[in-house]
Amino acid sequence: MKTQKASITPLQFMFSITCFLRSSSLLSSFFAPISKTDSWLVVLIASVVCLPFLWAFIMLMKAFPGKNLIEINDAVFGRIAGKIISAIYLWFFLTLTSLNLRDLGGFVGKSIMLKTPQIVIITVFILLCAWAVSLGLDIVTRYSVVFVILSSIILVVTIAATSNHMRLSNFLPILRQPMKNIIQSTNIVSTIPFGELVIFLMIMPQVNIKPKKLGRYFLPGFFLGAFLITLVVARDIAILGNTITIFAQPSFETLRMVSFFEVLTHMEILFAILLIILFFFKISLLFYVSMLAMSYLFRLDSYKPLILPSAAIIVVYSLIIFKSKTKHLEVGRETAPFMWFIFEFLLPLLTLIIAYIRKLPQKEKDARSKEAASA
């Protein structure tokens, strides 16, 4: 198997985490109706709750420098069990990609392209992602810095523009709702946007920096992303107030309220374009990670030949994954948090614990030192 050459800079890595989180800010339609006007608080709680798990990711990475998730599974669980767990991860990555594709199709179909069927929107999009993925990780993540800066500027501009519709008293009855709602939406937030950072375990060996210092780039990227999401949700609540529960896409509704000088009023095309660009970044990163996982699972030389057929699978998978939009919402709210919780948090934690039980990091360290000595 090809050893991964360190192809992306740490700055790119940090900002791709932020861009990844920022692009899932549209998913507020999942947890907003549940936690109503306290959604912004829920995002903060969730980012604190899943800190230990992120710490587990970093420890896993430090324990196995230069190895991605699939290789770690092989090393920790042995060949057969490792293969099975890696296969589960692969299915998880593919499902994530097709879920996000379906979200994109839904968003574009509802916001700017009413009558175009979903197949067309999704197929054209996946072709573009396939082209980007076939060129490698450096191209996929190169514009992460630009996208983050652009989206933060636009976020500040929209907050300024809609400030005349904002009423700060919308936040007020803080945490007056039953704890069950708060727990449920915290679970949703900590699995859908934040838990998906498990995919970064796959691309960590490709960052050209000593693994010890990677944590210094992983966490700030995460905090910046979490902060941006909180800002977005807070802006939606400030404007929509308690009507946030009835809107299918709250953050898109607020963007329709943006108006400058009473002339440029219907600006949601620009914001739709920005959200599509962010979606592009997220989906091509997910697609790249699933291709990488597939090529390591089947021990192939390169993943490039596999791109087109797996793109076809992802498209059809995203079309048949749910019978209807309502089913998508219902599953997303009720059962998905538990399922994803297992994939994103328990499995990596399990691998870490078993690794320490089998004292693998020490073996890894002295293997590394032997290599250094012999080189």
Binding site: K115, V120, V124, P173, N242, I246, R256, M257
Partner: protein, 392 residues
Amino acid sequence: MKLSRLLLCIIIIMVFLCTGCYDIRELESIAIVTGIAVDSTQHPNMIKFSVQIAKAEAIAGKGGGEKGGGSGQNSPVMMMDATAYDLEDALHSLRHDNSRELFLHHNQVVIFGKALAKQGIGSYLDALLRGHESRLEVPFVVADGDAKEILETELELEKISAVGIQRMIRHKAEISKLFGTNMLLFAAKMMENTASSVAPIIKVMDEEKTKRLSLTGLAVFKDDKMVGELNEPQSRGFAWLMGKIKASTITIDTKKGKAELEIISSSSKIKPNFNDGQKLDIKAEIEGFFDITELRGYENIEMEELLDLLVRMTKQEIQKLIMSCFKTCQNLNTDIFSFGEYIRRHHPNQWEKLRPRWDDIFPAINLSLEIDVTIEDTGKISLPPNLKGEKA
């Protein structure tokens, strides 16, 4: 390698070709809707949905040939209406006898007839909020009488009357933000559990030959039914109580002379005290800042004395305005001041106790006012010029 690269390009182009243009809508194939009016008809649950469509060439004037004006065929707008059970059917039936597709994105105003408002407009609002093409910040007005007639009246200043109405509402809202409401605010108010909101009323004033539109007073809604009306002074009182009045003036009429004070800004703080749940009384601290814009009469009076007199009289005037508005709302049992919402937000635990009996607590609220008036500035001259000058 060359062959496959060529093939790739052909395929990509082909894929794009077969995507085809599903969403294409040439500019000539759309009818731009600028105003919507919904009226009730004699038949109990049928509505008359009329739409104002802008005719492009007439407005652009095709080289400034004949100016808009005139109600003949070259008037810049065209009315179309349809009667149906609800909004969606109406929209579809409008499509049958219309060469172009209705384009609701640029709709400027939604007008509901008074009769329909009385029956309840919840379902029509829902259709408007759910539709993709309707905007949330579109202003929403109640017509005093027939909504279609409002849309038909020509405004000299504006070619398209709907745009004119929207500008009138925005101009009125400058006096106080409460006077203009849009879809979102109305929906938000309806979702509050002590739901009652307010919408401006528009009237057709027909002088001798021309018809004129004017925005007077506010319609009071309970849930989604219009239950009452506030005339101009009462709506001013409402704005005073909420501390959201900015621009308009107060006239003071005393024995010594008349005075016009312009309001610079106002604010109000509400202090409910619950005396454990039985009876709720609310103390409102209201603060007003004024400029003197006009003084008539007031011979031989000292400046301080004049100012004290004006302050005292303004306090009475504001007190009168607020009380009249509060009384009408209390007997309509509509909490347009959103006291309930305020208590829910700021004092959640008391709110648990009050909520079930809110309908009988609200009429029994006694409102105590504490008004503090400061006169900022007397304009360019201090005392009225009609002083004879014998005062040294």
